[in-house]
Subunit: 347 residues, 2 copies
């Protein structure tokens, strides 16, 4: 239990300059004064922004003029990582100078640099990107992998289930999360060989702090009857982006409908307070903060276009994971899984 999480923030990554990230940190710290921030990036840009937010008094700046570009290839980003704001923030986690790193920059580069610097946890073959998705139920759901691994085998999927459950226990505070594998049907015979094998391994792992409940499909994600949805990074990315695109599509149609006549404009004016709730529910800023799970250190990806409130939410995710020591939880669950699966195997 870490009472005062210290978070290394890549102030340069993302669609905007440091101002949004710093404003987000100020919101987070006003809510939770025990948080500490170190900002990595251009001091000349960062310093004046920090002085605008009294809540950030005492925050440190680590200067660098170099930043990873949005379109930079991971292979290139790795080579010059050390001198960049993203690489320096991750190295702070590696060296124990921060509990978590946060960046709104290039996801591929963030993954590659994090993996190289922090290495995967013992028992994890590949880290995964996890995030919260809104549902009609009382809590959000955790979905992973969202794009870190294009192809996954059954062992990868099982490890994702263990990590996703630890994440749900930590961030959603659900004791035994309901876990399902994303598939193209719910019958046992459906899907790839990897999915069927992962399902059979998870079905037997009933000693783990999760309830494995078979397969789910893309149209059932928002129903609220599952806490953790596990999938390979290709399908997960397709599902996540299709959900985002469809939500935007429907709200665009809604906007067209409301502006199509004077009568509907009046109806919109009357309904506005109620529709505000819909907007809040769908605003990606309220679900900001994707997490790389399975590394020896915490790295949170903030959406490149997040606003200050979105950044504050991502910081909240990071702080919650630090406080709840999620890395240790994942590690214990994995040890438990291996002790049952390979009894006597001390690897």
């Amino acid at each position: 239990m870490t009472a005062n999480p210290r978070i290394a923030i890549d102030a340069m990554g993302g669609d905007d300059g440091p101002a949004i990230k710093i404003a987000g940190a100020a919101i987070a710290r006003a809510k939770d004064p025990s948080l500490h921030f170190d900002f990595y990036g251009d001091e000349a840009e960062i310093a004046p922004e920090i002085t605008r937010h009294p809540a950030l008094k005492g925050a440190s700046i680590f200067h660098t003029a170099d930043a990873i570009e949005a379109s930079e290839k991971p292979s290139q980003a790795i080579r010059r990582a050390k001198a960049t704001s993203m690489g320096m923030a991750i190295n702070a986690v590696k060296d124990g100078r921060a509990h978590a790193a946060l960046s709104g920059g290039n996801t591929g580069a963030l993954m590659a640099i994090s993996k190289l610097a922090l290495r995967t946890m013992p028992g994890i073959d590949r880290p995964a990107l996890a995030a919260l998705l809104p549902t009609l139920g009382e809590t959000d759901l955790v979905m992973l992998d969202l794009g870190a691994n294009t192809e996954c085998d059954a062992q990868n999927l099982v490890q994702f289930a263990v990590m996703g459950s630890a994440y749900a226990r930590t961030v959603l505070e659900i004791e035994r999360p309901r876990v399902k594998l994303l598939n193209i049907g719910t019958e046992e015979l459906k899907g790839t060989g990897e999915l069927k094998e992962a399902a059979s391994l998870l079905r037997e792992a009933d000693y783990l702090p999760m309830r494995f409940d078979g397969f789910t499909e893309g149209d059932k994600l928002s129903r609220g009857d599952v806490d953790v949805v596990v999938t390979d990074g290709f399908s997960g990315n397709i599902a996540l982006k299709t959900a985002e695109g469809t939500a935007r599509f429907v709200t665009d149609l809604l906007r067209r409908a409301f502006t199509s006549s004077i009568r509907s404009k009046a109806g919109f004016a009357l309904s506005k307070p109620a529709l505000h709730l819909l907007k809040v529910h769908l605003d990606p800023n309220n679900h900001n903060g994707a997490v790389f799970l399975g590394l020896n250190g915490l790295v949170v990806k903030s959406h490149g276009g997040a606003n200050a409130k979105g950044v504050a939410n991502a910081i909240g995710v990071a702080a919650s994971m630090v406080r709840n020591d999620i890395t240790r939880k994942i590690s214990e669950d994995l040890d438990n899984f291996r002790a049952h699966t390979f009894p006597g195997d001390e690897r």
Copy 2:
């Protein structure tokens, strides 16, 4: 060009009995008296429904008491296909007694029976399931494969692109459809090896009646800047169902918002005519009719829960494909592709 399409309808498949299918056929025939229908299923149930619709005068009934169950495994369905309403409707296409078959039954069984009875076209390794999706643009988009093939190689994807383009030229009447491959990023380096290889093959195939335009992502499907989206059946099924689920999720939230106060209820009442357009745009019945492409014969899958209007739309899709001789179009494009790719190869 077939002036009078004759369509074999599996009256028993789907969530409801024959009544909906027969009512749908009546709507279709009232619009287009050149259509002819043969109904396959329980005569005792079908005959009284037909007499209720004067538009269906002269329709034939082919009696069978057997129907494929919704949960029946494809392997089992194949064995008893011949005596079932679904299998008999498909056999009518095979034997040239009908131009297309339509069923609202079990998709896996429909695919398996169709494939066995009609065989794949020369040059096609695997048939694919294609459907129209709504967009913000002027026309719908064609997406395939939506679940017929869990895993696909580059050649399969190229064949899907050829078939999807022929479908867009036929049903959407777009001379040179814009074609993209669904991926997890738009950069050339993203995605699986199969996708990269398919992209490179399609980039070179500029003599085909399509414009290949690289990769697209899940959040860009509804933008209206692409006519044909090609993907493997696993990702396609995940994307389609996630889009359906998200649209329902947002409209559920909207319903909650409108019923949350007296004020918002009044706003809803005022906006109702405008919101009706939204409902029409999102109603899956208006996009009903998925097509198995790549077989020596036309088979259309109607949604199991479609209403009469939805069935009529699916019949419209079938009729349009018959009239435009889509099988011949696909065959010509494939010959063209092979002649360029393997010059001198007469296989």
